[in-house]
Symmetry: C2
Subunit: 211 residues, 2 copies
DNA sequence: TAGATTGTTAATCGATTAACAATC
DNA sequence: TAGATTGTTAATCGATTAACAATC
């Protein structure tokens, strides 16, 4: 990962994803022209912000015209790395894990869950899974065999750090962590935290009567 | 919702939730004393930020001492509104919806999924559910009957705005929306967006080779 | 050319951090 | 009292927005 890349704030990257969504939605909508202002309006942002975000990565527009939607879409895909398919493994086939292995939103954006791991794999308690399900003992060998570099973590809290260590050992460089637990990882590994309870609490705050 | 409440940034509220987590983890760990610095260290934040965040809501500490952990925990619960149980309905029993109805992380923080809705309810395609599952036609009557004011939305994209309108009509004031679709709602209704694909893309950006 | 919209610089706004008097 | 840590003000940092020359 290049130096310039790590200096881009997460908020910018999230907005790039949103721009891409808007462009994908309009893909078959007649005009190939879109302005920073149209893009901004669609998302409730400021047009200067759209231009500034894109400026991190080059010049994509035509002064006096706007952007060629198709071109910009492909540029954004390349920037975000979703022009290639990404091979993902999921660890922990609880309720959430099972749901995510069959979540179609991922594959549409180029993320392919190629296998899953759980302690119960191979036992009679093993759930039906839409992808090959392996026992956790096989983690290292299977990840290497399937050339996985991206993991989704949905294990119980107690197991989170152990599993993480093994993922890192096996060459995984990005972890989407649904476990409410800080993970300690080497600096070349990226962890992104998704905490659904905290999302609920945040929302609840704004409707709850003042404490 | 009071004026002061809406002026608190989401980032502050998220951190309050995180402070509460740390306090809950330490609940049975001997000492009842905790300093802004300890709290900050546990989360990788700055101690001044901890004190500033709390200052939005009053004075909770003792100069020269720190905070009484138990007291602070109760104060945070009251502020976040998780001192009372919140009744939640879930709409859309696809993969993700089913997973979330049995997600224990919610109930631990006081969020109780009291019912779910889906078109297939009552037909032979209806999935087994750990909460009462009603057909969408009964949405308004059931929500009122069960006094629900909080909804989780996991329906297909095409249905999202329609269902939202009906939720709002039935008195729901907060929606946690997993559908990748902007929702139009009246200003007294809070919507919080969780887009798992965008989380994946954001993470992928930092490991993908530069475009 | 006239009109429109970009890329970019400068101005503004808000959030984070440092510093410290107050105080237990 | 001496030491520690709060609450809060002031300084810094970064992100958003406004403005506009460049240019299609």
């Amino acid at each position: 990962m290049t130096e310039v890349r790590t200096r881009i704030p997460k908020a910018v990257v999230k907005r790039l994803s949103l721009y891409l969504r808007v462009l994908q939605e309009r893909e078959d909508s007649g005009s190939d022209k879109i302005s920073s202002n149209e893009l901004a309006q669609a998302l409730g942002f400021n047009s200067a912000q759209v231009r500034k975000d894109l400026a991190h990565f080059g010049q994509f527009g035509v002064p006096g015209f706007g952007y060629h939607a198709g071109e910009l879409r492909e540029s954004l895909k390349r920037i975000l790395g979703t022009d290639r398919r990404v091979r993902v493994a999921l660890v922990g086939m609880g309720n959430l894990g099972r749901a995510l292995t069959s979540y179609h939103g991922f594959s549409r954006q180029g993320f392919e869950v190629v296998c899953a791991f759980d302690l119960v794999a191979g036992t009679e308690d093993a759930p039906a899974a839409p992808v090959p399900l392996f026992p956790v003992e096989e983690l290292e060998s299977r990840l290497k065999e399937l050339r996985v570099d991206f993991a989704i973590l949905t294990v119980p809290r107690e197991a989170a750090q152990d599993v993480t260590n093994r993922l890192v050992e096996a060459g995984v460089t990005a972890i989407l962590n649904f476990v409410p637990q800080r993970l300690s990882v080497p600096s070349h590994v990226q962890v992104h935290y998704v905490d659904l309870s905290i999302e609920m609490e945040t929302l609840n705050f704004y409707i709850a009567p003042p404490g």
